[in-house]
């Protein structure tokens, strides 16, 4: 009786790998496809860190130009998007430093703050904040709230919770340890929750 052959499942290659390979060969259309896939993400990351629209637009251009020049250095050990995000984080922090010449800006700045470490507001929220505020007013509240977080916290929150990178990818992109990412993420989430609570909590006596 013939022994059934056990086929190991083929490891699926991420479609970006082929696009990167084509771009390396000089196929600019392949590179444009990569740009169109990730430009919005890079813009969001840059805008969240720098809090400056002009800087964020410049960073989008700088990140993709840098990536194009250094495509050969992309090892493929991480996702192409994580590699781009890492470049975007570095560029964004550099811009922040330039704008705040008298202060050092780093991933460590202000992360020692105790604000929000211990929750103080225990009111439940309205289930549908979109019904209390219009889309644009809600956008203003969310921008204002995240703007107030120290850069080290809002960067971790942006990568992990908004851009959905894994804890390990976030750690890799920021050059932090996994426990450091987890600790900052907790503090960022709690601080945002505490600040948003002012706007989104239910009036007293109202139960969902």
């Amino acid at each position: 009786m013939p022994t059934p052959t056990i086929q190991s499942p083929a490891v699926e290659e991420h479609p970006d790998v082929a696009l990167v390979a084509r771009a390396r060969e000089g196929d600019t259309a392949a590179f444009e496809q990569l740009v169109r896939q990730y430009d919005r993400q890079i813009f969001r990351v840059a805008q969240h860190i720098t809090q400056n629209r002009e800087d964020a637009e410049d960073i989008v251009q700088d990140v993709f130009l840098k990536a194009y020049e250094k495509l050969d250095q992309f090892q493929g050990n991480s996702k192409f998007s994580t590699w781009l995000v890492r470049i975007a984080v570095n560029e964004s922090l550099m811009r922040l430093r330039k704008r705040k010449t008298s202060r050092t800006v780093s991933m460590d700045e202000d992360v020692q703050t105790e604000e929000g470490a211990i929750p103080r507001d225990f009111a439940d929220w309205s289930p549908n904040p979109e019904q209390i505020y219009g889309q644009s007013e809600l956008g203003d509240i969310l921008r204002k709230t995240i703007q107030g977080l120290p850069p080290g916290f809002r960067t971790v929150f942006t990568l992990r919770d908004i851009e959905n990178l894994s804890t390990e990818e976030t750690a890799e992109a920021l050059g932090l340890s996994v426990p450091a990412v987890k600790s900052r993420l907790l503090r960022a989430r709690l601080q945002l929750r505490e600040r948003l609570s002012r706007y989104l909590k239910q009036p007293e006596g109202v139960k969902p």
Partner: protein, 80 residues
Amino acid sequence: MTCTEFLAKMTDYFDGTIAKELEAEVRQHMCECSHCEVVVNTTRQTIKIYRDTDVYELSTDTRERLIANIMSKCRGKGCA
């Protein structure tokens, strides 16, 4: 489990990386402590609201301008 211990486990609980025995303790604490239950629910809402709302949009015009700039510079340079 105290509230402080609960908070320390919250990230792993959210991310689904918490050990089974600890998860049971976390759930038990939430049943017993209404404050921590609210903290978990509203933190979950915080994440959801930021994920669902495009806080920083890139308009089509700006986007096309940026892509055109990038691509024209790339074509001029050639890949290293």
